[in-house]
Point group: C2
Chain length 189, copies 2
DNA sequence: GATCGATTCGGAGACAATCTCCACTTTGCA
DNA sequence: TGCAAAGTGGAGATTGTCTCCGAATCGATC
């Protein structure tokens, strides 16, 4: 999927610079304030180069998103390996809120991209979704969590947390959503 | 708020036509596929007229959104008047899923607008938020619902449901989110 | 029902962002 | 070292957004 074309050295270099610059902007939440051509200037390449590597703004965003998701999945896997299932799930979800809180700009950018029908991030999200599904499945096997709700519902709740980034009481509400989800997930007697 | 200027007859007529046309497009989920100028042509007015009434795409969207919110708030109020608090809340939330399911295009459009930092819909959402807050507060007074989570969390969950409109198993997952929220809201022993 | 000032209309065109195209440069293999 | 393939960069075409203002419409008044 990534290894199809052994990119030439200079091309690879430019590509990396573009992604690095984009990640920076992304995190600052200014991803949509910038003319797309400006990414090229900021990275010190021509607009043609930018467009060859990333045909659309969304394509560039997805490249950035990839790294983000990979890190989160790693974390999920580590937690699952070291904690009881129910605790791993809870820790992961709480940690997601921390992560989003620490990267508001990123959350805002991602929310905007998600909302677009483009589905540019759908593929990248699959890995994250799989990680959450695994965490929930393990907790179900342990009997700590009911088995009649789909793990996708947890994804949806996370989605809501990320999407509602600009609510004044965001942090408290986000924590409450996690609380509701976790309590709701306990097999209702 | 609405009664400040007694609009001239022709102006009012054009305004209404524009909103009606926009609602149609909105519902079809094509709100962002259309050149903004085209709204004018579709409604049979000039672009100048369109821009005078609605300076931005978001302003037009908000006008449409207003009606939507008003209808939902009415429903909330009616439920609250005729059912026990806990049941009213549950019915309202389940109904929201039905409503969104029946208006996917609208949900998608709203999600996109919400995600924008513009906050164009923030004001319109206040009424809806108030309605939800009231429903929850009543349920808390009844003792049917815990008092240590903010009603805003419920809004966030709803937001997630609306924002995740394009998931394949959307309907099932949306129902599950509501289940989790409602079960989570029951005072945990 | 004719007059007139105020309001609204409408679309031509200025402006701004996106994206394409291709002459030139760089790379790395033989 | 030479050369074909791969990559570069920016000028300018294209497309969508928004402004401006002369013409048309309204409705209050006589």
């Amino acid at each position: 999927m990534t290894a199809a074309k052994p990119l030439r050295a200079d091309a690879q270099r430019n590509r990396d610079v573009l992604i690095a610059k984009a990640r920076e902007i992304f995190d600052a939440g200014e991803f949509f304030d910038l003319r797309f051509d400006d990414f090229a200037r900021l990275a010190g390449v021509g607009t043609g180069t930018l467009y060859r590597h990333f045909p659309t703004r969304e394509a560039l965003a997805e490249a950035v998103y990839h790294g983000e998701v990979a890190a989160l999945c790693d974390r999920a896997r580590r937690l699952q390996a070291t904690l009881p299932a129910a605790e791993a799930l809870a820790t992961f979800l709480r940690g997601m809120v921390d992560h989003i809180a620490a990267h508001k700009g990123l959350a805002r950018t991602l929310a905007t991209l998600m909302a677009d029908r483009s589905g540019a991030l759908a593929e990248g999200s699959l890995a994250l979704e799989q990680a959450v599904t695994d965490l929930v499945a393990a907790a179900v096997r342990d009997g700590a969590v009911r088995d009649d709700v789909d793990a996708g519902a947890v994804m949806m709740a996370l989605h809501g947390i990320g999407a509602a980034h600009d609510r004044p009481a965001w942090r408290a509400e986000a924590d409450d959503v996690i609380t509701l989800v976790l309590d709701g997930l306990r097999r209702p007697l």
